[in-house]
Amino acid sequence: MAIEVQIPTILRTYTGGEKTVTADGGTLADLVADLDVKFPGLKDRVVDDAGLRRFVNVYLNDEDVRFLDGLATPLSDGDSVTILPAVAGG
């Protein structure tokens, strides 16, 4: 299973500058664990003990996973996951 993950600029130090990487996982939590194997340290920037970090948004095919099942959100082959820092408008 291959899931495409978009990495924000601020986390590309972990991916050797790669903007898009692929990883595996049946759920978002599994995916984050797999990312951490490939890119050690990445996980701690995205999640903490309480779940997703406050200033990090994760989208599954453009939908915010906080309104799906959070880290337990199931993933399928061909899904696209985007990680972004939270920004303001106004």
Binding site: T9, I10, L11, R54, F55, V56, E63, V87, A88, G90
Partner: protein, 289 residues
Amino acid sequence: MRLWAKLEDLNPTGSVKDRAALAMIERAEADGVLFPGATILEPTSGNTGISLAMVARQRGYNLICVMPENTSFERTQLLRMWGAEIVYSPAQGGSNEAVRVAKDLASRNPEWVMLYQYGNPANSQTHYDTTGPEILEDLPEITHFVAGLGTTGTLMGVGRFLREKKPDVQIVAAEPRYGELVYGLRNLDEGFVPELYDESVLSSRYSVGPRDALMRTRQLLHEEGIFAGISTGAILHAALGLADRAAGSGQEADICFVVCDGGWKYLSTGAYEGSLEDAEQAISGQLWA
């Protein structure tokens, strides 16, 4: 399946922000913190600043806006038209930087009044008091409400109102996904979630990229003759996705989406002409909502 447009571009300065600006100023006046000659300071990606500038000019307040430098030229022109002073914040980091710079200025100038749209309850309250009731009165059959997510004022206010009056209505956020520059924070702790935001008010939240937003902005222009700003295209994109989903499960839907502002102040960005690729490129470093 019906889509209904709430035309907030018809407000005096051409955006939904006239509501929040007037409400925040009137609240500050009632609280006795604003008096003629006072100086208002506000971080803004443009629209709130333009609305504040109109009211400030009429009521005799000075206005200083902190605005990211990567906003359309028309925003600067409109702010100046009403006599506002502009302090530009760095493009990198977008509105988050504007908030940071404004907070810093406020701490050094305690006599200035920062209305702070991201945490000012008058912002969402005015949507609870006005936008929400207007929509329900005109469209009692509403099934979905879709709006943009900036300060979150529109969605928090209208969302709370509809949840009370018609709990089955889906409250859906369409958030613009900007180019990389805007997310170029120095560290993740510089991320920003407006104090007004309460996740429990929303049913779902979508991130819409510039290509989809531009495509829908043009579709609205070409098919309906509604000349809207780019965030409206993002909102329409999410609304059409909901319509598809409802149709797929055999449901009827009356979806209300917000036309947040008119297209006039984005003309210089190149959003409305040429290929979508070129337009996407043209707005890629800009704050388009």
